[in-house]
Symmetry: C2
Amino acid sequence: MAIDHLDGRLIVLLAREPRIGVLEASRRLGVARGTVQARMDRLQSQGVVRGFGPDVDPAALGYPVTAFATLEIKQGQGADVRAHLTTVPEVLELHTTTGHGDMLCRLVARSNADLQRVIDRVVGFEGIVRASTAIVMENPVPLRIIPLVEQAAQDSRDS
Amino acid sequence: MAIDHLDGRLIVLLAREPRIGVLEASRRLGVARGTVQARMDRLQSQGVVRGFGPDVDPAALGYPVTAFATLEIKQGQGADVRAHLTTVPEVLELHTTTGHGDMLCRLVARSNADLQRVIDRVVGFEGIVRASTAIVMENPVPLRIIPLVEQAAQDSRDS
DNA sequence: CCTTGACTGGGCAGATTGCCCAGTCGACAT
DNA sequence: ATGTCGACTGGGCAATCTGCCCAGTCAAGG
């Protein structure tokens, strides 16, 4: 299960040059086209690769400010809060967590001033007891997956 | 600047069905193929769409546990800590933030037990004073961008 | 020794891509 | 009002790629 070395190389290749087709990929990897097709099909049907959605930069859309908000929820209001946050476009991501807060969400805004509006909209909902926000200043490691893919590919090679 | 309504529709379409080509997209959107090509080129050169990297699911790779760690850094150690965390494959993302902690990072692990190993590796570095970790239980809103794209497209339409 | 699954190497028709062109249309400046 | 410029349309062309199929090899497991 998981992925083998060839899968790893394929994913890394796709990550680096997403626009290449199956044929070109097979050349780069030194395998037959059918093999690449089969691997891709398997990776997708197994859910390892969910898709190839466009990677949109919120900053380029006019939302250069990112923040993380930790929310504390009133008992039993979880579902309502989730539904509420789902309706806010600036909420890019929402997790329920263990620890001090109950939920953690990623927000974006047009400016620091605009962030206030977003936060007001987020917390302006009965059921949210308290919120603490951390504004992102720098993003030294943007969301990445390749190192993990390589790790996973290594592991299966060793075994 | 930003994006107009057609850009928005194009991005949403690509997000829903990433495998369609330029020709198919132009049919769906009811515009000429050249227009779609031009829009895609512009979106990419403007950096709105960074690329079409494969969307890999860490869980399917054998890393079903996600956590967020807030790190407190010793003065002046920022650069070293960043470099350190970059070498840890399980660190998917790292931000420097305002607020109580100094950094926030997203981690994945093979299990709750494995998370301990990852955290040890992350914080086992001189320069990190304190770390508090929140394990993700549920992910009601997976990373999404479409609502924001639609919002941005609306805004430009109104103006 | 046989079966199974994965991979190779090749073929084929149909669809798509990259590229180019002329003409239309609306916004904007002179 | 006139001219210019950028964006979009509709079409064409050669080269390439895709989806699909097939036979043969090879290693692993029974």
